[in-house]
Symmetry: C2
Subunit: 347 residues, 2 copies
């Protein structure tokens, strides 16, 4: 009898629904635009339609039918996991407080596990990606994308905190005089280590005259009617652009500061750096390791003899392996891991 | 049948050994000077002698004898909890790597639970102090003393990380350009929120001419042949000294930054501020709460309607209740909580 796990990766731009075997091999996936403006009910209908189609195609019915391992959904946070309710998501205007889990369970007639997308990605990297061969009970993944997400696994369970907000390491203040973040605080890690932050800082460096290579890139892109991206900046740095190289060095510094706080607080054996920005590992990791070494004595005590060498009781920091599919795979893994609900501490 | 729990609170200056009933009522305690210079064997003999004396006095022997709940020891960190071995402790020169737990177990012929002193204090405040009536599974305590210690309890267990270094929140960088810390890093919370830091910053404020009240206090103390203490500075602030008030406001700011990082990362229901400096709660807590509010959106989402009001699923930050005896009581509680060994993650 086959087993089928369904994952849903929802963000403000795209909606992906994937079917995986019990062994986590991909079977089929569906991609569509997220109809944010059409409202939550329309998007719930899109998700439910896709999930049903995959179940019908690959699970069969009657005698010889396979077994559904479960349906998991990764969504941008904040999410109140006790209530399965979205918080105020900047990319979902008008959706504030929407009870996504209930709506999906009702539409599907099935239990649904709902998690922050960064937690779903962490689960995938932990069990099927960079953490696969390391075998640790605890880890943390930082996802450097449009924002900086984080997922923390402690003693084998996703750490949720009180109502599902645990693991917002992207919003730890690393420079209290820094710019105002989308969350309303100042100097969050997200303001220095996301793709958005890279473009902002690069533009500042170009405007101030500090980075002529970046200024030229911005001009060239403008002629094409385009804005620069983190990927453009990485290519510029690899081509020898000194401003772009400095930009990624600074990213490494700020990321190292954020990691130093995590390592000193939690002392985990594994930290994975994922998201689109992590593909520039060659450009920022030297400085990241130097800063982590300089700012965390807990790291210095547990520093491996070589970077990227796995040693027992040493702190291992490495790039993600799965890439952009981690969120979808992790979502499909949620039900099997009993994830998707908050610890539910009470006073 | 009576039950007796023995706690040992070891630091670079004093050694306290206490006997408690099963219900954690104090029975008898012994205080002595820690003979650091005489070496670890001498101090182990002092501890073992004291523990044996308390057991003989209060447990009896033969028929009608009580039951020993266990022996717990709180020591300054870092400690390798897997091996029960001290790290490099600044106040214990020449003790590097000493296998304290083995030595004590051998001297006593009994199992011994060894923990960092900040973890022991956190255990006491969690179960018998400020956390007693709140009933949470997870909490964090910051101990503002000579340094800044921290103890983190997650899902009912002291969080140790890989080899016992988890929960070193005193060494999270909060201002990367800050002064060099005793740990070798720069700008650690400990450099802003310990009693030592208060005296250092106060002296800087006096020398720069920014705080005339503190400058006068330093001169007055000098006449007596004494140095200023955090307590002197708190009295000066309560007396209206504007420089001293500003000093404590800054403490609140830095502590708020440290808390913001912890709240955003872990989203726990309870944070307790303890140690000698916490007695100046009236002088720093307003600014601490303001900074925490400003720098953590996770806190803003879980902020209680009134400070110091316990509400379900809200973040509660409060001063410790037990005072300087928390370390000793917590040490005695270690064996019953199965604490004193590391999680022991492995690659």
């Amino acid at each position: 009898m086959t087993e089928l796990a369904i994952g849903v990766d929802l963000n403000g731009t795209s909606l992906r629904i994937g079917a995986f075997t019990g062994g986590l091999e991909p079977v089929e996936s569906i991609s569509m635009v997220t109809r944010v403006a059409a409202g939550p009910d329309a998007v719930v209908a899109d998700i439910a339609g896709g999930v049903r189609r995959l179940i019908q195609s690959h699970l069969g019915s009657g005698k010889g039918a396979g077994k559904l391992a479960g349906v998991g959904v990764g969504s941008p946070g904040p999410i109140n996991l006790i209530e399965g309710r979205l918080g105020r998501l900047p990319n979902f205007p008008g959706w504030d407080g929407f009870a996504l889990r209930d709506a999906l369970e009702q539409a599907l007639g099935l239990p649904v596990a709902l998690e922050c997308d960064a937690n779903a990605a962490a689960l995938a990297e932990w069990k099927a990606g960079a953490g696969k061969e390391i075998v640790v009970d605890s880890m943390c993944m930082l996802t450097l994308g449009t924002g900086v997400g984080s997922g923390i696994v402690l003693d084998g369970k996703i750490w949720h905190g009180m109502v599902g907000m645990g693991g917002e390491a992207g919003h730890v203040p690393i420079l209290p005089d820094g710019p105002v973040c989308g969350c309303g605080s100042r100097g969050c890690l997200e303001m220095y280590a996301s793709a958005t932050a890279l473009v902002r800082i690069a533009t500042e460096m170009a405007v101030s005259g500090e980075a002529k290579d970046i200024a030229q890139l911005i001009e060239a892109k403008k002629v094409e009617g385009k804005a620069i991206t983190a990927l453009d900046l990485a290519l510029l740095a690899r081509g020898g652009g000194s401003g772009a190289r400095e930009l990624y060095r600074r990213l490494g510094f700020h990321l190292g500061l954020g990691l130093a706080g995590l390592v000193s607080t939690l002392d985990l054996p594994l930290y994975i750096i994922g998201g689109g920005v992590a593909s520039a590992w060659d450009l920022f990791s030297d400085q990241m390791f130097e800063t982590l070494h300089a700012y965390s004595y807990v790291y210095r005590l547990g520093e491996p003899s070589q970077r990227l060498k796995k040693e027992k009781d040493k702190t291992f920091v490495c790039p993600a392996q799965i890439g952009p599919g981690a969120g979808l795979l992790g979502a499909a893994m949620l039900p099997a891991f009993g994830a998707g609900r908050a610890q539910g501490e009470s006073l």
